[in-house]
């Protein structure tokens, strides 16, 4: 390339033009995600947009070539690729929520580190306050997101107990609000000019880190879909704020898209649970209720059944609805469920899947698992579509789902999940619940469905039970 050409490629105008192409591709790629058929291409287009943004940024690096910068960048990229690629290629679909949490965390960590370095460069003033505000926002939120995501990862990976861990009573809220105020106060002191800036920025990062830990620790596993989307939104917004600080439009656009998407998903999830986002973040849901889990102490009885009986019920049904939950993910039973569906279809039974918006540990978790097992997506019905179908359903098979099928959500004002829209499985002619034992669901809430005379319980590992059912159905 001629010297002239090189110079042209390195002008600010050219780089900015490349940025515009990059964010246009990111947005265009995201529009592809609106349908399963265009989604693969959409994701690839977005990846190309990202690549253009990175290359355009590297063009600027000519100013410092020879100072070892290129090698350091390469080192970071190589380490990141070496860690990220194998993780992404090997992770099982059932482990997707923790993978997303982890990727989200490293993103937040990068934001926090970048904000820190930005400040180190501008110690001693010379930086406009209004830009500092955005960067401090990035530092606080990025740090919260990093640590919060790590805790979420730990809980989902079961390194940490997934039950709520919190201080007694309202102490937790007081501590959290206090920490947040300390972070904000430090940010104000820092931006109004102080002699110990190095100390303050570090203090902000540390306080936000503690806050990130304390905010997610009290949140129970069942609320993870909300937390993960919220942290995703946080990282996006902090990336956008960093973009303002660095005068970089593509970072702003990309960050805001993520912020918007995370916010939408968070609200959808919270709505699906009939709870407010602040109430979920306050945490501890189910912690108090779960203490005396009196499954059958009040004299109610449940009916246990065998795979043979259920197979007969299923094979002679006209319509069967499968309501999957986190238990299906844990048992990795999605392929077995698909095999059962095929066996039933071969007998002329109509099979549909009832997907509750918060079933599983992240938004759309069940859809991914069933897609992995090759279930056609037109068999997957959302809650509002499937609920009117239950009265016409002969057998509903509840596989590892609990709270999302709890009739108390509709009928018992005393229940902690009263008002949460649920799958009305108890309206079908018969219900078969596949469960390990009579232990209550994650939220520790008693489920009257299990004691319904129409309900029979098939105990055991979901995968083993479903496989057995399939064999029995095929033998009929």
């Amino acid at each position: 390339m001629t010297a002239l050409g090189t110079v042209f490629l390195q002008t600010k105008d050219f780089i900015y033009a490349a940025y515009i192409v990059a964010f246009a591709l990111l947005i265009y790629g995201m529009t592809g995600l609106t349908g399963p058929k265009t989604a693969v291409r959409g994701n690839k287009i977005a990846a190309v947009g990202m690549a253009i943004a990175v290359v355009a940024t590297l063009l600027r690096e000519h100013e410092f070539s020879g100072s070892g910068t290129v090698w350091l960048i390469l080192l970071g990229v190589v380490i990141g690729t070496a860690v990220g690629v194998p993780a992404a290629l090997k992770v099982r679909m059932t482990a997707m929520p923790q993978m997303v949490a982890l990727f989200n965390g490293v993103g937040g960590g990068a934001v926090a580190l970048i904000a820190w370095i930005e400040f180190r460069h501008h110690f001693g003033g010379g930086y406009p306050l209004r830009v500092e505000i955005f960067e401090l926002f990035g530092a606080i939120v990025g740090s919260i997101s990093f640590w919060g995501s790590n805790i979420a990862f730990g809980k989902l990976q079961e390194i940490l107990p997934s039950r709520p861990i919190k201080l007694p009573g309202r102490a937790q809220t007081v501590v959290n609000v206090g920490l947040f105020l300390v972070a904000v106060a430090s940010a104000i002191v820092l931006s109004s000019g102080t002699h110990s800036q190095a100390l303050f920025i570090l203090g902000i990062l540390v306080v936000s880190a503690i806050l990130g830990n304390l905010v997610v620790l009290p949140i129970g596993g069942a609320d993870m879909p909300v937390v993960i989307s919220l942290l995703n939104a946080f990282t996006g917004l902090s990336a956008a704020a960093t973009g303002v600080g660095l005068d970089n439009p593509v970072m702003i656009v990309a960050g805001m898209i993520v912020g918007a998407s995370g916010t939408i998903l968070t609200n959808l999830m919270a709505k699906a649970m009939n709870r407010s986002v602040p109430a979920i973040v306050a945490g501890g849901f189910g912690g108090e209720v779960s203490a005396p889990v009196s499954a059958s102490s009040d004299g109610r009885s449940y009916r246990s059944t065998s795979a043979q009986d259920v197979a007969i019920q299923l094979a002679y049904a006209r319509q069967v609805v499968v309501a999957p939950g986190y238990g299906m993910a844990v048992a990795q039973a999605q392929h077995a469920v698909r095999a059962l569906e095929k066996a039933l279809e071969a007998k002329g039974v109509i099979v549909k899947y009832a997907i509750h918006p918060v079933a599983g540990r992240m938004p759309g978790h069940m859809n991914v698992l069933l897609a992995e097992a090759d279930v056609p997506y037109d068999l997957l019905r959302e809650m509002d579509d499937i609920n009117p179908e239950f009265p016409r359903t002969d057998v509903t098979l509840v596989i590892g789902a609990n709270d999302v099928t709890n009739p108390a959500a509709e009928s018992d004002p005393g229940s902690p999940i009263y008002g949460m829209p649920s799958l009305e499985v108890d309206r079908s002619a018969a219900v078969v619940v596949l469960k390990r034992s009579m232990a209550s669901g994650f939220a520790g809430i008693d489920n009257p469905l299990f004691y319904d005379p129409k309900t029979s319980m098939l105990f055991g590992d979901a995968k083993a039970s479903v496989t057995e059912l399939t064999a029995e159905v095929q033998a009929l």
Binding site: I79, V83, A87, K90, I114, N232
Partner: protein, 109 residues
């Protein structure tokens, strides 16, 4: 016009664009949406690239290498995992590794 004002205008407009585009994504695709947008916020890696040149001293360089590595994990891992998921929605069978090792936590800093 002040460049900060322009940047904030971009910020606000991008928020609305994001909201409009993402609202149309069906429930079925919410997990891929989440991991796809997750990859997109890996754009912070640009911050690491930009600052690397200005950085001085071992600490700053070390932190930036970590930041770039984090950002790269975020971008590369995010897009790959989303691609894997979306291929499944297309209904094409792909070989699923039977027993994958757990993703290693890279929390070090």
């Amino acid at each position: 016009m002040d460049s900060l004002v322009i940047l904030i205008a971009v910020l606000v407009l991008a928020g609305f664009v994001g909201y409009t585009v993402i609202s149309k994504v069906p429930n079925t695709l919410h997990t891929p949406l989440m991991s796809g947008t997750n990859a997109i916020h890996g754009i912070v890696v640009l911050g690491g690239l930009l600052l690397m040149a200005e950085s001085s001293g071992f600490l700053e360089k070390l932190l930036l290498v970590i930041a770039v590595a984090f950002g790269t994990i975020n971008v590369v891992g995010g897009f790959l995992v989303t691609d894997r998921m979306l291929e499944m929605f297309k209904g094409k069978r792909r070989e699923e590794p039977a027993a994958a090792p757990k993703p290693d936590g890279s929390e070090g800093s």
